[in-house]
Amino acid sequence: MSASAEAQSAHETPRRYQLFIDGKFVDSRSGKTFESISPHDQSVVAVVAEGDKADIEAAVAAARGAFEGPWASMPPGERAKILLRMADLLDARAMALGQLESLDMGGPVLMTSGMVNLAAEVFRYWAGVATKIHGITSAPMRPGEYLGYTLREPVGVVGGITPWNGPMIMAAWKTAPALACGNTVVLKPAEHTPMTAMELARIGAEAGLPEGVLNVVPGFGPTAGAALAQHPGVDKIAFTGEHVTGRLIVQMSVSNLKTVTLELGGKSPHIIFDDVDLETAVANALYGLYTNTGQICSAGTRLLVQESIYDRFVERFVERSQKIAIGDPCDFSTRMGPLVSEEQLRKVQRYVEIGKKEGATLRCGGGQPKDPALAKGFYFEPTVFTEVDNKMQIAQEEIFGPVASVIKFTDEDDAVRIGNDVIYGLAAGVQTKDLKRAHRLVKRLQAGTVWINTWHMIEPNSPFGGYKLSGYGRENGLAMVEHLTKLKQVWVDLNDFTMDFFAM
């Protein structure tokens, strides 16, 4: 393979990345760069070109040119072949790309390399969809007199703004479906974690994407991100991030009434009934909460535990939380790496202060680990608050860290009331052996995803998105085709006579 990830070992740094516009790696027009640092030891892992409005303008122009040029006229089967090649290249480089992502973001490489494989599956899924996007034949009210049918046409230029917590998988979600539907893309990856999105640009070029079809412009939100959201030449924006920025994007989108889809986070209830196997329930709760150091929008951060097993559950959950293998994210034995940044560390520390002030009981964690090997990193201990009231801020606000709020409930109605009493509605989960109860709760929980006896199941064919302030629109699954195409109705008159309404 060429000058891509595998050519450089994990700790050979810093790497240099340019913007990728119109099929070429280029410096930003301003000449500015920014550094990406390792949350493990604050070393500089990459120096990255910093795009702003002028670079976004160039990227949108390139994307428009490609949309009106080679990409639109390419048969869907050819587009599918390119997407399949991208999937194969992602799989072939999964280990190296996982290492890059672990350096940049801090997630353990066991997870980040797996996420690259999942990104490959996203491309493979959408390669299959590319040849199956079509309209329908309308059912005429007067059969034989006319023919009606619909066409599904690509929306045009799609902008994607991704967060730092899953750089490659988010880039895949924002890119593969848009390309499969015949659109071209301008992607602005998160400032903390730009490296793997730039590697995706390289993979696209190697796989044969025509120039301008995929453009990647790292940069900052108020400059590059806002320029993309406001741009009248962008037909659709997909954003994952916090809810005020989501709202700003909606306000900016009125420039050309572009379509917007938003995924804005959650505070998901993980409801654990007393008929569960305790060890399984604890393992699911740990996985739902601490994966990626709690930095997943759909994390099960509110553990709602039935009162009859509350004490036993808490005891075992705390015990297991304290044994989690924290360490260098590039080490395969690590299960939990650092938080992504100083900002994130400060926010998590603030919530621990709030939790104490509000009167919750801090059962473990609450600070940075004592291990001197981790002293330079943004590490934080698995933290468990018990006796949490759902009205507390630690139960209401997304902390985005390894912090559990364990809340007691009495019965099914109580669990639903507490579970839904939050501004978000991204995910929810139920652990019980009672199938009828589980499905009753599925209907009553206000969330875009409900997991039964599992957590974090996310696949390319299954829609993911939120209710309430978690946003609107879905990622993954055929529902996305609705967001990424426009519908055209075609009418054909089959009558042999002239319908002359103004004949008199």
């Binding site: 917590n165 900052f220 806002a226 994952t240 991030g241 809810h243 801020q393 985005f400 501004i423």
Partner: protein, 121 residues
């Protein structure tokens, strides 16, 4: 510097000195007729609760909830979010690392606003 007047029950108890200086840098770079800046408290994916510097016209009058004002900078939140924030007591502070997923307008000026917790009063 004159101490700002803080409403006794406001959740936002003001800006730290570093936050004031960052705000001054943003204002100094503004056009004379620029629309007033405000802070909106955000939350959710990847940020947790954090301030977003935006324009007065981004606020929905009669809907968003006022949480305090300092140095001429009004602070607002979505009403469902404000239910909890109103009980909180915080200062607006700054960190140097500007890498953040936000559209907050201070980012190009060399700092990122964050909340700093104060004891309940």
């Amino acid at each position: 510097m004159v101490e700002p007047q803080i409403e006794p029950n406001a959740a936002c108890r003001g800006l730290t000195l570093r936050a004031r200086r960052l705000l001054e840098r943003v204002r100094a770079a503004e056009a004379a007729d620029a629309e007033p800046l405000v802070l909106m408290i955000s939350g959710g994916c990847c940020g947790g609760t954090s301030p977003v510097l935006c324009r007065r016209s981004n606020i929905l009058d009669g809907f968003d909830v006022w949480l305090g004002e300092a140095d001429g900078l009004a602070v607002y939140a979505h009403p469902d979010h404000a239910r909890y924030l109103q009980r909180d007591r915080f200062l607006i502070d700054v960190i140097d690392d500007v890498r953040s997923d936000t559209f907050s307008l201070e980012v190009p000026h060399g700092g990122r606003f964050v909340l700093r917790e104060l004891p309940f009063t």
